[in-house]
């Protein structure tokens, strides 16, 4: 017996998990700081949370790659990249909520920021999990704080309604997900994803009839994750929740929660069920199904967004459409596909969080989220108008900005796979739908710009920014331009992500 080995293992585990552990403790610190800070100095708590997120990011950079807990917890490029996205989303959600807390949540700032941090910890665990139990716990740790956050304005009917809707949908989807997990466990006898892919493949060779059970498991898991991603027909909750929830939380939901769903999808379908795909050589079993869902997502999201008058609902439908675009990259099932998914999410982080931050500024000032009230803002607050316009153009995918680069990467990955011999021809159709709906999407994004610039009379409002929101807006602005003009450093990183998957089976 060697007594030294366990200690080394524990230290290694602690080292790998240090960002998560630190952030978890820091969330408690944030709540405690709120108890001791005076009511007048009410930005102290927020700054504490921001500092914690930055330190966690630093720890993440120091930790590097590795494996712990018998391959249950793994830090590969995929996990690290998505953890950066989660931390960024948390940073921007906290940063843009300084103004809003002053008005509405004065006495509960600690809980507000603390819950955001807890949710981020859940997402980070999810990104690192390589095993169903920890994946499930990570997913729940992500969503349970978000239920509370969505219903945070306790006296506001809209907020409470969005909270209960999100709760029912969230609990329902995790029940569906678990029912699928139970069949995966029943077939493979393990909850470790890599082992599972091998076991399911070998069992499928000896018992062909197991295909039906796999189908049930696939459909249940797809429904569960579809709710998290807001893919139609599981999207109905998204606009209501986004409209009612506090705006920074809606932003956090649309980026953080969606990215978490993407990671869960990639882990389960591209790792756990990969062996099955490899044996059958028919990756389009669930692929066509998801392809149809993502096409419907792009169509419904973009068309319904056109007739929205509330900017938060408009952004909600736009995020449904964006999920459709991201899934095209996922369905390409190759190295470029998965790195384009990561890159798209990275760009989406800046563009969407920036847009929501601007909406938060406007809502703090005026209490309104109607698109009509944005008219004439270019004359009174030129900086605000320019910034919001740039985010809208990036979401629409106009060339010099990040959104174009991201869409190009996703479509290129899908076309790349479609040209290969095999059963991938339907990807052409998907890309076609994507291109066509991108054109529709221009209408409602540019509508906001039109309201701000092309009206005669000046707006009655003048926007003012507090420091954190200004920092968030500038980070997002820089991010949108850098990913559009000089994306090479980020692409170099995302190109390493495929190491988590074994796409070579298909070749």
């Amino acid at each position: 017996m060697n007594p030294q080995l366990p200690i080394v293992n524990v230290l290694e585990t602690l080292r790998l998990m240090s960002p998560e552990i630190f952030l978890f403790i820091w969330a408690l610190v944030v709540i405690t700081v709120d108890l001791f800070s005076s009511r007048k100095n009410d930005s102290l708590v927020g700054y504490t949370a921001l500092v914690g997120i930055v330190i966690a990011g630093g720890l993440l950079a120091v930790t590097g790659e590795g494996v712990a807990f018998g391959a249950m917890f793994i830090n590969d490029p995929l996990a690290i990249f998505f953890k950066i996205i989660f931390l960024g989303a948390a940073f921007m959600a906290v940063g843009s909520s300084f103004g809003i807390t002053k008005q509405k949540v004065q006495n509960h700032r600690g809980e507000f920021y603390g819950l955001i941090l807890f949710s981020t910890v859940g997402m980070m665990f999810l990104a690192s999990s390589q095993e169903l139990v920890s994946l499930y716990i990570g997913l729940e740790l992500t969503t349970i704080p978000l239920f509370v956050l969505a219903a945070f304005y306790k006296d506001d009917k809209l907020s409470v309604e969005s909270g209960i809707k999100y709760f029912v949908i969230g609990a329902f989807s995790s029940a569906m997900l678990l029912y699928g997990f139970s069949f995966l466990y029943g077939m493979s006898g393990t909850t470790k994803l890599l082992q599972m892919s091998v076991n399911i493949a070998s069992i499928h060779l000896s018992y062909q009839s197991i295909g039906f059970t796999i189908l049930i498991a696939n459909v249940c898991i797809l429904a569960g994750i579809g709710f998290k991603l807001a893919l139609p027909p599981f999207h109905q909750w998204a606009p209501d929740v986004y409209e009612g929830a506090p705006t920074p939380i809606a932003a956090f939901l649309s980026v953080g929660s969606k990215a978490a769903g993407l990671v869960a999808f990639a882990k389960i379908f591209l790792i756990g069920l990969w062996g099955f795909i490899g044996v059958e050589m028919k990756p389009n079993d669930w692929g066509v199904l998801v392809g149809i869902l993502s096409a419907v997502a792009m169509i419904i999201g973009n068309v319904v967004a056109i007739r929205q008058t509330d900017i938060k609902r408009m952004l909600a439908y736009s995020s449904i459409a964006q999920a459709g675009y991201i899934m095209i990259g996922m369905l390409a099932l190759n190295e470029h596909g998965i790195s384009s998914v990561a890159f798209y999410t990275f760009v989406y982080l800046f563009a969407n969080m920036g847009a929501f931050a601007a909406v938060t500024v406007f809502e703090d000032k005026t209490g309104s989220t109607e698109i009509g009230n944005y008219k004439g803002l270019s004359q009174t607050s030129p900086f605000f108008a320019v910034v919001l316009s740039i985010f809208m153009l990036s979401l629409a995918g106009i060339p010099p900005l990040g959104g174009f680069m991201a869409k190009y990467k996703v479509f290129a990955a899908a076309i790349d796979q479609a040209t290969m011999p095999g059963t991938f021809k339907w990807l052409y159709w998907l890309v076609g739908v994507g291109l066509l709906t991108s054109v529709f999407s221009l209408y409602y994004y540019v509508n906001v710009i039109k309201q701000m610039y092309f009206t005669k009379e000046a707006s009655i409002y003048t926007m003012t920014f507090n420091k954190p929101v200004l920092i968030v807006l500038i980070i997002c602005l820089v991010g949108v331009f850098v990913t559009g003009i000089y994306p090479e450093p980020i692409l170099d990183f995302t190109d390493k992500i495929y190491t988590a998957f074994s796409f070579s089976v298909l070749k």
């Binding site: 729940e140 709760f167 609990a171 466990y185 209501d240």
Partner: protein, 99 residues
């Protein structure tokens, strides 16, 4: 073993039906618990009959029980908020937002 899985499937279907048709939020919460219980039966049955030895399935069901309890706590707290705002917890009336 098939009997256990069948019972679980029936429970899950009942829960699903309840979630989709119930008008009362408390009823929806109870139906959700039924769905979680179906999953737990599945895990324990698979563990006992198909993969005896390692206790992964039972461990997973313990985790599910804990998380479902935490979820129910948050859910009931939100239901309380609903009651304070509407004096009612039937989901016919709680529908301010529409597309």
């Amino acid at each position: 073993m098939v009997a256990y899985i069948a019972v679980a499937a029936v429970l899950f279907a009942l829960g699903l039906f309840g979630v989709l048709t119930r008008r009362n939020i408390i009823g929806i919460l109870m139906s959700l618990e039924l769905m979680f219980n179906a999953v737990i039966i599945n895990f324990v049955a698979f563990n006992k009959f198909v993969w005896p030895g390692e206790m992964i399935g039972q461990l997973f069901s313990l985790f599910i029980i804990v998380v479902a309890a935490a979820e129910a706590v948050v859910g009931l707290a939100i239901v309380l908020l609903l009651y304070r705002n509407w004096q009612d917890i039937s989901n016919d009336n709680i529908n301010v937002m529409k597309w």
